[in-house]
Amino acid sequence: MTDPFFTDVQRDALTEMMNLGVGRAASAFSKLVGDEVLLSVPEICLTTVADAVAQFTGGESRAFAGVMESFDGFIDGTAALLFPGERSLELVRAVIGEDMPADEISDLEEETLAEIGNIILNNCLATVANSLRKRIHTSLPETYRATGDAMFPFLDAAPQVDAGTPVTPMLLLVQIDFSLRERDIGGFLAFLIDLKSTEAFRSAIDEYLAELGV
């Protein structure tokens, strides 16, 4: 698979980093909940926002809930954990081992969801930064709800205009499946990387590959 942003080997490197990050996140989870958390091999997709919206919604307007945090450092952007519909609620209940039915997510659960997203996003971002020997800085996570095209509230700035030509920012989508306490919950990690950062990102990966001898 080719994409307009990375070469195959760059993609391969990125996948491996995400794999490490998700693995660390799973480890952090399993320590927290005292239970094994199965996380699938992440599937990485570099795409544009418009394509991502289409892929997520399947053309329909669907509710999404998730956690987002912004990052800056050697690359700037926004990271998000996204779940279709009520799955975010389900993830919280699975993580805290709660079976009590309730229609609404409570304040405490909201915060729990924020921490879950925080753990996953931080691990992925930190792994990428560490692998590339760069620094990254994250903000506190926020939970949010969105519908349809507005599913990425952090995309409000897009499309960005560069030298008079509209250019869509790069979106790194990572699909992961959680399996916890006999529940399977699928979601996405989305990393929206500012256009001005993409070149820095590419060169950082190339440096890393060069060091490996590629």
Partner: protein
């Protein structure tokens, strides 16, 4: 003269491992495989003295591959090198007589495996 088998679907991961091995065992011959099936063939074509196997791979997992290799090479030192660093996975690796090395592999763990277990 050692021949080390690296099994990982990620080329970058294989390169990373090759570098760490090269630093520890400059004379070692390193053979690579991108999947479990390929690993069985490569192992048959070479005299392998140690194997480093990734856990998460398309097709069969590293643990499934290790089980098969264990039948043909009962004494082969094997290490599971994985980003899935939960205790449950480590326990399963150890149950197969494998060394568990979390990704990214640190030099000490690699040295312990290559110079110790697989020496």
């Amino acid at each position: 003269m050692k021949t080390v088998l690296l099994v990982d679907d990620s080329r970058v991961a294989r390169m990373s491992l090759r570098r760490s091995i090269g630093a520890l065992l400059p004379d070692a011959t390193i053979v690579e495989a991108g999947s479990a099936d390929e690993a069985v063939i490569v192992a048959g074509q070479n005299t392998i003295s140690a194997a480093l196997i990734d856990f998460n791979m398309p097709g069969r997992t590293g643990l499934e591959l290790a089980e098969e290799l264990r039948l043909s090479y009962p004494d082969l030192p094997m290490a599971l090198v994985t980003a899935n660093i939960q205790d449950a996975v480590a326990d399963r690796a150890r149950a197969l007589g494998m060394t568990f090395i979390p990704k990214p592999p640190d030099a000490a763990a690699m040295q312990a495996f290559l110079m110790g277990d697989a020496a």
